[in-house]
């Protein structure tokens, strides 16, 4: 558990057809690992966005590796819509499971708690319910005439994110991004890239322990300095807006996207 390996060995955990959970842009996105995953070309991925995605999801879609996309939104933020996503939606290139943020969280919490479902308010009367055949309405067993939605547990095969640091024992700093804890506990395997390895235990003090994902839930760790670039990493570095804008412009066409991706892994490493 929490073994420190190369980026390539870490990326190899993402196998064709697996259910892969990825975090939102503000939570630490493993972009260096994404480049390494793309190199392996694992196709038919079922990508679960926790609860939304941006450039990472758009790239995996653009590379043709996504079979199912379960997400509450895909956007490049200030740089606008996600072009490969929009194009693939129009073409029907993958199965789309539109969601709403708290339902994704609840599905993961259900898996975290080992229960088959969680109830959630709202949703009834939206078109989401029409297309999410896996969501049901039941009667609240504690009150008459109170229909409520239940969403099934979401158990990813692999969860992946990028964090500031891990220690030699495999503990990972996640700060107040507690959806990463839920995601990791819900998943069968969790792989994490980090900026650096801490030589002292992250559990050494009560203060640092409060923001730690314990090694028990961490399968593999790889060091990837500036591993979230061009996205930012909380407490470490800001998003490279110019680079995201460059991607947004180029990815408008399949050719432009291919041109952008050519050498992306190298540019990612060089950004460190």
């Amino acid at each position: 558990m929490g073994e420190i390996v190369s980026l390539e060995e870490l990326a190899a955990e993402v196998r064709p057809g697996c259910k892969l959970a990825v975090p939102a842009d503000y939570c630490g996105v493993a972009m260096a690992a994404t480049a390494a995953i793309i190199a392996n070309r694992p196709d038919r991925l079922h990508v679960v966005c926790v609860p939304v995605t941006g450039m990472q999801g758009d790239m995996l879609i653009g590379e043709g590796l996504v079979g199912v996309l379960e997400t509450s939104a895909v956007t490049l933020g200030e740089a606008g819509g996600a072009p490969r996503f929009q194009d693939a939606v129009k073409k029907g290139s993958f199965r789309l499971m539109d969601a709403t943020c708290p339902a994704v969280h609840s599905g993961l919490i259900a898996a975290q708690k080992g229960v088959p479902f969680l109830p959630i308010r709202g949703i009834i009367g939206s078109d989401l319910l029409k297309t999410r055949a896996d969501w049901k309405i039941i009667d609240n067993p504690f009150a008459k005439g109170d229909p409520i939605v239940v969403v099934p547990a979401i158990q990813p095969d692999v969860a992946i994110f990028h964090a500031p640091e891990a220690d030699r024992l495999g503990n990972v700093r996640i700060g107040r991004r507690r959806e990463l804890v839920t995601m990791a506990q819900a998943a069968k395997a969790t792989i994490v890239t980090v900026e650096r390895i801490s030589e002292t235990s992250l559990l050494a003090t009560e203060d640092s322990a409060a923001g730690v994902l314990p090694a028990l839930y961490v399968t593999k760790i790889a060091v990837a300095p500036r591993g979230a670039w061009p996205l930012g990493l909380w407490g470490e570095y800001a998003v490279d807006s110019a680079e995201i804008a460059r991607y947004a412009a180029m990815a408008k066409t399949p050719e432009g996207f291919a041109a952008y991706m050519d050498g992306f892994a190298r540019r990612q490493r060089e950004a460190a």
Binding site: T100, C101, G122, E179
Partner: protein, 250 residues
């Protein structure tokens, strides 16, 4: 335009729409709602009224949540979020909103990002303010192509819903029972006829539609002073935009 810019008017409108709330959540990329919330907070402080708490979502500095991405939704379900803003690529006359796309789902002609938390927040926040600067019949349609979240519901627990619709051109109230908007006022520079021509859905309107109440001097002083300074921290580009428009208008 004279004394104030259209954006300043919108900010003042937002502050008025939020009057009485204790806690509002705003998106990191929603500067006008954030500015309105900050204006209310400043005004309340001056008047010795209860403190207004503002959670800026996605911001590292001004986000006071510590329990991860689920906290906004938990906090809302606990009844601790009084107001929230929602927009939409399409909004119809029954206040249904569409954040997904146009045409047949799932292969939308135009695809927007997705529902985000709307299919939850719209149901649970008591005072949801629909805000969309663009006022056109492309946005305000008779019937949305996809219901990300409905304006009204029957037979379910729904403490929240639409309180008002604010656009760059006008302010509407919403009657949940009748499932219908009513035009309250047109902003300075726009007429009731402008609104009619650019709205694709039916709504109620009095024979004479008043102009949206102009922000008073005290409000403009606060907005141009303290609030613009506060905005500079989280929304530096927007604060610059406000300053620039003001100078152009003066």
């Amino acid at each position: 335009m004279g004394d104030y810019t259209n954006r300043e008017l919108l900010i003042a409108c937002v502050a008025d729409l939020l009057d009485g709330i204790r806690h509002v959540a705003v998106g990191a990329s929603s500067p006008i709602p954030a500015a309105g919330a900050m204006l209310l907070r400043a005004r309340n402080e001056q008047a010795g009224k209860p403190r207004v708490r503002i959670s800026v979502l996605g911001s590292e500095e001004h986000n006071f949540f510590t329990n991860g991405g689920a906290e906004l939704f938990d906090c809302t379900a606990q009844g601790r979020v009084d107001a929230f803003f929602l927009g939409g690529g399409q909004i119809d006359g029954e206040a249904n909103i569409n954040l997904v796309g146009t045409g047949d789902y799932p292969q939308s002609d135009v695809r927007w990002p997705g529902c985000f938390g709307s299919a939850f927040m719209y149901y649970l926040v008591p005072r949801v303010i629909l805000f969309r600067e663009e006022h056109s019949s492309r946005v305000f349609v008779p019937k949305v192509d996809y219901v990300s979240a409905p304006g009204t519901s029957e037979g379910i627990v729904r403490p929240g819903g639409p309180h008002a619709l604010l656009t760059g051109m006008a302010l509407f109230s919403f009657d949940k029972t009748r499932k219908r908007f009513a035009l309250q006022s047109a902003h300075h520079g726009f007429t009731a006829a402008d609104v009619k021509a650019n709205t694709g859905f039916e709504y109620d309107a009095a024979d004479i539609v008043p102009e949206t109440k102009a922000p008073n001097a005290a409000t403009l002083t606060l907005l141009r002073g303290r609030v613009t300074e506060e905005l500079s921290e989280s929304y530096p580009q927007f604060a610059e935009l406000l300053r620039g428009e003001r100078m152009a208008a003066a």
